[in-house]
């Protein structure tokens, strides 16, 4: 573990571990973290991992992400582990799993879906219809979306 810890320890916050190599930026994008929020974020990319060969890690100082918030990242990082850190110690650990509903954020791929009609006040929503591998339907047009389609 000391070999892994390339960036300094965080006192309080969230470590997203076991992200498939090269996906750390996609994870931040899906979480809506741009860097302009002022939170301290450390990215580690392409480090050795026993489980994945190579992996990325994202460390977010000062913010504890909830399962609802992070489940969405299973879209880009289904293997991810979320670690909640308090006083420098991991106090909670959970795997991400696909959310039952995804609201806003993503666009429906169907160009004639009403959620893609210009200026209509409607927020896209997708319901999970199958867990493995995850499959969603658009709440408006009924079209299937795999997690990757949503990005």
């Amino acid at each position: 573990m000391s070999r892994e810890l390339i960036v300094s320890k965080i006192e309080h916050g969230t470590v997203i571990d076991h992200i498939p190599a090269g996906r750390a930026l996609a994870v931040l994008r899906v979480l809506g973290i741009t860097g302009r929020e002022g939170v301290r974020v450390a990215l580690v990319m392409n480090v050795e991992s026993g489980k994945l060969g190579k992996k990325d890690i994202v460390k977010i100082e000062g913010r504890e992400l909830t399962p609802e918030e992070v489940n969405i990242i299973s879209a880009v990082a289904p293997t991810a582990t979320i670690n909640i850190v308090r006083s420098f110690e991991v106090v909670k650990k959970f795997k991400v799993s696909p959310p039952e509903v995804v609201r806003g954020r993503f666009k429906c791929k169907n160009p004639t879906c009403v959620t893609n009609a210009p200026r209509e006040p409607v927020e896209p929503a997708f319901y999970l219809v199958r867990k493995e591998p995850p499959l969603f339907v658009c709440a408006y047009c009924g079209r299937y979306h795999e997690l990757g389609d949503l990005l």
Binding site: T112, V114, N116, P121, V122, Y140
Partner: protein
């Protein structure tokens, strides 16, 4: 229970809902050419952003036969929609003016959005490529009237089953009954996976066929939709298969005597006019039943 309900997707209606609708429609048949003054003072707004003759007229006639009034527009020309008003804003205005809104729109999900915006009930008169729930109700009502039941029927759907908006809704509504469905189409014009998975999960018995001859003798109902030339990737393929999805007297030679042929209309050339004179042809009767069926629907929602 129909009262104050939106009619957005065929998936939202149970067998009991449909049976209640059919019983009411049968009663309404007596008044389909006269007047039943039960909705006096009620106004239906018809918002047809896309042209349609049959659906719009049958809704309007149904409302008038019930003693209500109709306002609205069809086609977007000359309306505020053409000036760029959103669907949501147009619906809000109509909602303020009326007691029930019937919408037809090019976009999938338009009726759902309208129902979210409006307080009055919204009825989907066809949105996008997959939903036309009241047509599906009418299609099954016609079967119910012809056979006195729906359970046990062998129902063939023939033609472009992927892009015909009535087919998706019909399959979804049929999932409430114990029927067997034969999907007869070129492979790439089968219904989309979204529909097939749903009806299978509801236990609907289905099989796929490319050849009508193979199943014609089994069918009680043949529901025909058009195959458009533009849907074919290869024009030669179209020339090759078009005859096999066209209903003509020789195709019906091996059919049951009691087979009924249905079509949501308008037809182009997918049913030979010579079929009209046979006892199989029920598509004009089906279209006529559109009025009492929609009278029943509006009545159940508004009374």
């Amino acid at each position: 229970m129909w009262r104050s309900r939106d009619v957005i997707s065929a998936r939202d209606f149970t067998r009991a809902d449909l049976e209640e609708l059919f019983e009411t429609a049968k009663y309404m048949e007596k008044y389909a050419k006269s007047r039943l003054d039960v909705l006096r003072g009620k106004i239906m707004a018809v918002a047809f952003f896309e042209p349609s003759t049959r659906t719009r007229l049958s809704f309007e006639v149904a409302m008038k036969r019930l003693g209500g009034d109709v306002v609205g527009f069809w086609g977007a020309e000359g309306t505020s929609v053409e000036k760029g008003e959103t669907l949501a804003d147009t619906i809000k205005m109509l909602d303020a003016y009326s007691n029930i809104i019937v919408i037809r729109h090019r976009y999938e999900g338009a009726a759902k959005l309208a129902a979210e915006v409006a307080e009055s009930p919204v009825v989907n008169g066809g949105d996008g490529a997959f939903n036309h729930p009241t047509q599906a109700m009418l299609d099954i009502y016609t079967m119910w009237r012809e056979f006195g039941r729906v359970d046990g029927l062998n129902i063939g759907l023939l033609g472009d089953l992927r892009h015909a908006r009535t087919v998706n809704s019909l399959l979804e509504a049929l999932a409430n009954f114990n029927v067997r469905v034969y999907l007869i189409s070129p492979e790439y014009l089968r219904p989309r996976a979204e529909t097939i998975d749903y009806v299978r999960s509801r236990g609907l018995k289905l099989s796929f066929h490319t050849n009508v001859e193979e199943v014609i003798g089994e069918l009680d109902v043949m529901y025909v939709v058009r195959i458009q030339k533009e849907r074919f990737i290869d024009p030669l393929e179209y020339e090759k298969v078009k005859g096999s999805y066209r209903v003509a007297p020789d195709m019906l030679r091996n059919a049951k005597k009691s087979l009924i042929v249905l079509h949501p209309l308008p037809r182009v050339d997918e049913i030979d006019p010579r079929v009209d004179a046979t006892p199989h042809a029920k598509y004009f009767k089906q279209a006529a039943l559109g009025v009492p069926l929609r009278m029943a629907l509006i009545y159940l929602i508004l009374s």
